[in-house]
């Protein structure tokens, strides 16, 4: 069973979520080929061998430096064909999910996104996916011979194996219609850990009392190597940018550790975080509903607790 994995990159480096996708593919079957598009460092591509890729195709065409969904789709369709791959694995993302859908239409594959575990092959080929914004799961049988699987963060434990992957240049004829959606500009936070990819997330709510108090959360996030998030009221009031809004209608996260500060825990917020492995809630209101969904809780003043917590974290690192 040949598996193709689409790996995303940012600033020349393979994204952590894509490394997970390679590890997922390796645990799913044997012959794993990864494909990267645009400008990526060669050592990064070779390094995918450590997660189980035997071979890495690199479509380095400069036109692919921008993540253009239609062009990426057509490169992946061609690569699945050339590699005789039955399964395409990739990470759910603003790029990966639409590409997965389009590839599935064109190749006649069964499609599942938000997949949270390896398939159960005891009765057909069934994957578990997150539904109702993390409030439930569905086991879905993918019955077509070809399958496209978009995985959510922490769908699988990463196991390292030995060996480098062989990197092969890969060319595909691109046409103008692949670039029908023109990218005029991209605004992207650089040098910070992105929320959907972070292992630890520090989030603030209305209890932070104003955007000027975010620096204590940022210090804590820095000490933990974490991303910062916020509740919906905070992004609605413009205290923080929309891409930091965690919840039902914002970003859904599944980190190892989620620290919520001054967030009461409305059900819509919980829906965005309930896949976190461990939740810490810090709130001055002992009745805050978030405590019911937490693993650890502290009742108290965030402005006193957070700087102390940051110091305590630094002390053990």
């Amino acid at each position: 069973m040949a598996i193709l994995v689409f790996v995303e990159s940012a600033e020349g480096k393979i994204k952590a979520t894509s490394i997970e996708a390679v590890a997922y593919a390796y645990q799913l079957g044997d012959a794993v080929t990864a494909i990267a598009l645009g400008d990526v460092e060669k050592s990064e591509l070779e390094g995918l061998g450590k997660y189980g890729a035997k071979k890495v195709l690199h479509a380095a065409d400069a036109k692919l430096n921008q993540p253009v969904i239609q062009a990426y789709t057509n490169v992946l369709i061609k690569a699945m064909e050339d590699e005789a791959a039955d399964i395409l694995v990739l990470a759910n993302s603003s790029l990966g999910t639409p590409v997965a859908a389009k590839v599935a239409v064109k190749t006649g594959a069964s499609l599942a996104s938000n997949v949270v575990s390896l398939p159960d092959k005891s009765a057909g080929f069934a994957v578990k996916k997150s539904i109702y914004t993390g409030k439930a799961f569905a086991w879905v049988e993918l019955t077509n011979p070809k399958k496209v699987i978009a995985i959510r963060k922490n769908a699988v434990d990463i196991k390292e194996v030995s060996g480098n992957a062989a990197v092969t240049p890969y060319t595909v004829q691109l046409s103008d219609s692949d670039f029908a959606v023109k990218t005029l500009s991209t605004e992207k936070a650089t040098g910070e850990i992105l929320l959907p990819e972070a292992n630890i997330v520090v989030s603030g709510g209305r209890g932070m009392k104003g955007p000027e108090h975010w620096s204590i959360l940022e210090d804590l996030a820095k000490a933990l190597n974490a991303a910062t998030g916020c509740s919906k009221p905070v992004s609605d009031m413009g205290w923080r940018p929309h891409h930091e809004h965690v919840g039902q209608t914002g970003v859904k996260v599944a980190p190892q550790l989620y620290i919520a500060v001054g967030i009461s825990g409305a059900i819509q917020h919980l829906a965005g975080v309930n896949s976190s492995k461990c939740i810490v809630v810090i709130n001055k209101d002992p009745e805050a509903p978030f405590f019911k969904a937490a693993d650890y809780g502290i009742v108290g003043d965030a402005f006193e607790i957070i700087p102390k917590l940051t110091e305590a974290i630094k002390a053990v690192k």
Partner: protein, 246 residues
Amino acid sequence: MKILVCITHVPDTTSKINFKDNNTKFDPTGVQFIIGPYDDYALARAIEIKEATPGTTVTVLNVGLADTEPTIRKALAIGADDAIRVNADPADSFFVATQIAEHAKTANYDLILMGRESIDYNSGVVHSIVGEMLGIPSVSPVMKLDIEGTKAKLAREIEGGKESLEVNLPFVAGCQEPIAEWKIPNMRGIMSARTKPLKVVEAKAVDSGYKIQKFELPPPKGAVKMIPADNVAQLVTLLKTEAKVL
């Protein structure tokens, strides 16, 4: 201009989710159904465009059984001109997208809008599938959409930021906040919605290669461990040795 807005009929965001029949069916007991919140943004933006552009019509489409009609009427009350209900259980993304594409392929819409994802199955792929089936571009999640003649300027949210895009009409967009403010139907809208056309069509049979076997609820959360505010060191120790997340 002709705009199609595809809406879902989904449990309210505060709903507790339960299943019945040996975990094979959603249990709607006590659940209130709403227009999907993302679809509501798409609809609101469509109505704004209609208000700003004379001669624009907005059609809403829902794939659902007869129980979704109150939700469709609400969309008409918000300002859509007419509606189509494809009479079928919206089994999966491929099935729903096929029904939308089947209707849209002969209807010549300039713009097909919907939410970035439904809040029940969260797959977030219907807009992409519809675009691919119709051979037109699709963009999601769109947080800003401005029509400029035969083109549109869009902002799409990406991890940690956004892209500004330009695309020719027609295209499909999966929408999210802050593309528009949700609209609440007024009394006149509610009255006129009763007589607006709502056409029911039968679904096209589709083999999606996708079969839901069963549903599952997450395991119940254990009790929260409270830590005194003056002992943050204890929290750090627990995160390290007990939860093993540091």
